[in-house]
Amino acid sequence: MATLDQKSPNVLLQSLCCRITGKSEAEVAHQFQYAVRVIGSNYAPTIERDEFLVSEKIKKELLKQRREADAALFSELHRKLQTQSVLKHRWSVLYLLLSLSEDPRKPSGRVGNYGALFAQALPRDAHSTPFYCTRPQSLALGYGDRSAGLSASVGTSGISSLGVYTLNGPTATPQSLLASQAPQSAAGGGQPLGSRLAWALPVSCSPSTALATLATRPPLGPAVPSSRAIRPRRDGEKTREVSEAALVRDILYVFQGIDGKFIKMSGQENCYKIDGKVVLCKSLRDTSSRLSELGWLHNKVRKYTDVRSLDRAFGLVGQSFCASLHQELKEYYRLLSVLHSQLQVEDEQGVLVCTESSLTLRRLLVWMYDPKVRLKTLAALVDFCQGRKGGELASAVHSYGKTGDPQMRALVQHILSLVSHPILNFLYRWIYDGELEDTYHEFFVASDPNVKTDRLWHDKYSLRKSMIPSFITMDQARKVLLIGKSINFLHQVCHDRTPPCKITPASTSADTPKDAAELLSDLEGAFQEKIDAAYFDTSKYLLDVLNRNYLLLEHLQAMRRYLLLGQGDFIRHLMDLLKPELVRPATTLYQHNLTGILETAVRATNAQYDNAEILKRLDVRLLEVSPGDTGWDVFSLDYHVDGPIATVFTRECMGHYLRVFNFLWRAKRMEYTLTDIWKGQMCNAKLLKTMPELSGVLHQCHILASEMVHFIHQMQYYITFEVLECSWDELWNRVQQAQDLDHIIAAHDIFLDSVISRCLLDNNSRSLLNQLRAIFDQIIEFQSAQDSLYRSALEELALRLQFEEKKEEKTGQWGVTAEQEAEEKRRIQEFQDTIPKMRSQLRILTHFYQSIVQQFLVLLMTSTDESLRFLSFRLDFNEHYKAREPRLRASLGTNRGRRPSGI
């Protein structure tokens, strides 16, 4: 045997037949004929000649049988085989061995079944369709025929083409399943019943005829209709109806959303329906319907992603959502392709694959359960997210993550991490660089491009509330807004070009979705920390810049000193200097004159030691002149603010400051006036002692003056201590503790508001203010009245003295002529006549003044502000007014501490 025997194939075949059957040559004639036929008809193999594939298959088989050692052994042997070059067609041999291999675990059921079956007589089934034992009674018959042998041992029906396959060779189409119908005609052939192997397949029964007969689907034999009683393991083994394998194939198409042969999408009902013409048993129908749900879900998700990917304005968040959906669908497609390949493998090697692993609808149901749940989640998400974009979309996805099912939660978390990745990117760019590139308006910080730099802090950036994702709290969102705003503020308004990385150590931004996922899983901790850190650093830096470069706090104090009359000596000196100027009518005043006087005052007092920056901003402003105004009415100090300071001291704030200044200036002026009055009184009292007729008038003057002094005194105390000092203290504390610019602005606004309301400058206290103004007017009138009184009195005094002097000069006591004396007496008489006039004038003045004060007190009593009520106590400490004013009596006594009720 130098080489393998060169006998002809026929001879070999014959010897093979003899060998296997163990019979002599004559007896195996039939088999031999058959063998020749088979081999002759199938000359070319239908599968690829791939040795590697075959060896892999063998290994897989062995592993499936849990014979790992054997698999290793086989690998060894195969390797050895490969090294030898004796065999030329290794592939053939291996394939042959593989196809002949049997699982040792499996009982060779064939023999047993055959044994049982062949206890019955064979001939009965000669002409019936043998293969698919759907009918229990026909079971025996079916086994009488060779083909069904394999399927008998099969657990499920599966691809029952196995039997057919053995007859028809490897024409592995499902249609071949139905080729068994061919035997109808075939079985009737005149085969000797003795041949158990009823190779009833006539020569004519080639695959083509099998197909032809299939196409017609001839009605089944008489016994068929009763075959509805299917044995559970024989599902779908309906030769006449759609077989399960065909359904499986269809279902696999439906899974992808493509209409199958039997199962099509019904538009109006929006579901997959099995074609009505198809004859299908109920359980199959149900199972297919259940499975086609997956196709429906897939379509829904696919439609969404397709539509959205065309939408240009969908934004980054939406696109990442679509990308994540796509990913999930890809996984799904992968699974489908695995199923497809499984199907293909079975088709190719129907005989070889253990039918336990073949595809059936039931198996599909089980295997597709998890994907179904996933697809359901995705479809639900898609529904929920219709029409949303940006932060809204992220919120929607996040809300779906709040579920107890861990798989669903994991899936949604994954999608959420992808979806929120762009948002977190926006966020990091915003808080670390202050840049906002948001073409599709998805981020929750909105920038208004029309706003100029001077209003940058207040108006330019705002929160888009709808776009705040639900996993970011409002507080965090506000902080984020603030951080970005600060950076932009620094860049544009403060002209501070420090790169942001110096401000905050820029931690790694969310560059990858993985980072985003990590961040999302720890929203409370890491994310909050990041935001807080950025917030603190940025705000501190901003405040530093403001205080260092722009002297914010100094300016605040300067406002207090100058506009709120905090620098007493300066104000007094200024008033001293301005007094002669301001008495003149307003139209004659020139700004540069007043500015010069301001400079003088500054230089002469402690104000000169102030920061030059501050003094530069101090200025005089002349208000609008109405006719009849004196200088007092139009004079005002001013403080120029620009640049970043103007963010805190906005135009409204400056307006408020000026109003308060006006009020305080007037009050100060009253104080000043009364001081003058008192001075005058003190000086002249002694002088005018010699004129006893004046004493009554003077007494009245003194009383009125002291009343006024007391009043103004109390008012000043109230203003200075209760209003200004307290509010200022609060403001200062808050400013020192402020963590960011917003806090400072807010504290400042509160300060101004309280000052204004307490100084009776807001709308509620209009009446009080009017009263106060009236009082001030009265004081001024009194001053003028007193001045004229003193003038005339002093004139009189001077004249009298002159007269006396003349008298003295001439001749001692007798130096005055009679007519001179008479003249003198006449003059004195005249003078004394004017006194009652003065007296009455004063009385009127007093009366008027007191009535105004009483009204003022009544209003104070009924005010809502507690400090004002206390002011009224102080003003009327000895109940001087209460005695005169019945209303006061009633109100003071009974309503003390109670809410006023319509007095």
Binding site: P9, L16, G22, Q84, L100
Partner: protein, 73 residues
């Protein structure tokens, strides 16, 4: 020549041994002779699918032939 022939023979024998081993592993039920016939057939270009089908049929036939014999016996 002889050595070459011998070598060849040995190679052939080895190959057959290996194949037999594989066949045993796979539990094909082929004995040495059948296996050698099959190998020869394959080497001559016969379609292994068809061949395996034939063998299976033959086996089934032999079993069915045997069974009634047993029963009747």
């Amino acid at each position: 020549m002889a050595s070459a022939a011998n070598a060849n023979l040995n190679a052939v024998r080895e190959t057959m041994d290996v194949l037999l081993e594989i066949s045993r592993l796979l539990n094909t039920g082929l004995d040495m002779e059948s296996l050698s016939i099959c190998v020869r057939l394959c080497e001559q270009g016969i379609n292994p699918e068809a061949l395996s089908a034939v063998i299976k049929e033959l086996r089934k036939a032999s079993e069915t032939l045997k069974a009634p014999e047993n029963c009747t016996n």
